[in-house]
């Protein structure tokens, strides 16, 4: 187990190096002078020259990357063109909001997704199965941002109109109270819920065909005990892995959800930065999410190996 964990941890380094290089090189995709892209279109020639010197843009590409990497390792992701604040500070100020939204969404997705998956697997090909899987397929197919807009219309326009309410039960934009969290959470959870429901159904169906489940039934255990205590525990192992991966995907899905609901997280910071051409912030947020996602994957893999001993013997 220890050897597997160490090997897995070492595999992270080339990925992080590569990801940081991709983010670093992405600025070179911008047509024109990278120094001007960083300094902003309204920057004076003196400022552009200063940026060029600071970033070592007159040096070979490999040297530039080493300089960039050195700064990143010290937590220096540059300064925002718009606010002039350090990018790290901008990210950390908004990170709790994104983590809160991702956590509530994952909790909701897991609760509903796993329940739907179990309901579908216990009665395969019944109307419950058909209904659950149709709901799941719709969740996978629906654009997250459109679902968000539809919920906004429902709660802010239609429901108040139908029931003569003065305002929406759940505010369609902003943050501050638990009520602000409801619509973004449902929106962000939809896709993951669908994936978890489909996954739980498949693994439950496989587990329910195993010999030990048949033995459990044969010795007269109640169906509820067979499903909840014997089958579900084993069926959930791969589902837990998918949940871990979903957390990372929720971080990137938050980009769209936060934009729809004006939720002040790092996703919205990224979109605002893109429209302002605030490239240091764009690079910083993307690198931050990629690093976060890589570490979440690492933890999930180690956790999975702990749950399923076959992994580290393979």
């Amino acid at each position: 187990m220890t050897a597997y964990v160490i090997r897995r941890i070492f595999m992270v380094f080339p990925v992080l190096l590569g990801a940081s290089f991709l983010v670093f090189i992405s600025l070179r995709l911008v047509p024109g002078d990278p120094a001007m892209a960083i300094a902003g279109e309204l920057a004076t020639p003196a400022l552009i020259a200063q940026v060029r010197q600071d970033m070592g843009l007159d040096k070979p590409l490999a040297t530039q990357y080493v300089i960039y990497l050195g700064k990143v390792l010290r937590g220096d992701l540059g300064r925002s063109i718009k606010s002039h604040l350090p990018v790290t500070q901008e990210i950390l100020a908004r990170l709790p909001n994104t983590i809160l939204l991702a956590c509530t969404s994952l909790a909701l997705a897991a609760l509903i997704g796993i329940l739907l998956g179990i309901a579908a697997a216990v009665r395969p090909y019944s109307w419950i199965d058909g209904g659950s899987m149709t709901l799941a397929l719709s969740g996978v197919s629906m654009p997250v941002f459109w679902l968000g807009l539809m919920l906004m219309i429902l709660f802010a326009v239609l429901l108040p109109r139908w029931f003569g309410l003065e305002r929406s039960i759940f505010p369609p934009t902003g943050s501050g109270t638990w009520k602000h969290l409801v619509l973004p959470t449902v929106t962000l959870a939809a896709n993951s819920m669908a994936i978890l429901a489909r996954m739980t159904r498949t693994t439950m169906l496989e587990v329910l065909r195993q010999d030990y489940v048949r033995t459990g039934r044969a010795k007269g255990l109640a169906e509820r005990t067979v499903i909840w205590r014997h089958a579900l525990r084993n069926a959930l192992i791969p589902v837990v892995t998918i949940m871990g991966l979903q957390f990372g995907i929720l971080l990137s899905g938050a980009v769209l959800t936060e934009t729809v609901f004006a939720w002040p997280g790092i996703g919205r910071l990224l979109v605002d930065a893109i429209s302002y051409r605030d490239y240091p912030v764009v690079q910083g947020v993307i690198l931050f999410i990629a690093v976060g996602f890589t570490f979440v994957n690492l933890v999930v893999d180690i956790f999975y190996a702990y749950l399923d001993p076959r992994i580290h013997y393979a």
Binding site: P14, L22, P143, F145, W146, I153, L251, S252, T294
Partner: protein, 263 residues
Amino acid sequence: MVGLVIVGIFIAVGILAPWLAPYDHDAADFAKARQGPSAAHWLGNDEIGRDMLSRLIFGARLSLLVGLIPVSIGLAVGVPMGLLAGYFGGRLDMVIMRLIDIMLAFPGILLAIMLAAFLGPGLTNLMIAVGITSIPVYTRLVRGSTLSVKQEQYVEAARAVGVAHFRLIRLYIFPNVLAPIVVQSSLQIASAILSAAALGFLGLGVPPNLAEWGTMLQKGRTYIFSAIHIVTFPGLAIALTVLGFNLLGDGLRDALDPRLRVA
């Protein structure tokens, strides 16, 4: 079957757009701006009075393009990489798979957002950005299938009689890894349409005058509380089309892998 019908209708609408659209999809009529559905304009008019139905019909054509071209990019690059990694193994496999791991470090549509943000908006850049993100999916899938196919006896027999590596990959391995590629392509088109719409919604897609469904949603968002139809119909079109390709992918998988029919 349902998936096939939806996809068939979508492709037909895309191809026949100029004949099916009741109005010129670019003709603005400010007097009719944001008007809801009516007998003359079944799905209403957009923020500058253009006919929504005509724009949605032409949008199908663009969505067909942003579904097919990126998937072709993914196929053209991802499949050979997967074949080479799976067949030759060793260092080549390690290098290719580490490259893929690096791309997969950017979850969801983050890589596409990054590429589109730096390349700048535009149809070509959008398709490149979405296309690059579909490469890892194919490489991993094809590598896995190649690893199992290359153990088969007919491959070993071909190798034993001296068939050259690339000929062997082309004639013996590739045809046998085709089935999962076909299934994945249907799901991947769905994913590409969703990603392109998402980039359009973020303002990183096609120019605003083009009738792309995600961009139409972005433009209509401003009027979400006064003209519901402007954001409802493009989203519905995206969801239906994506659902069609997902259903088709599921159906193809069941048809090509009989083991799954029992599950």
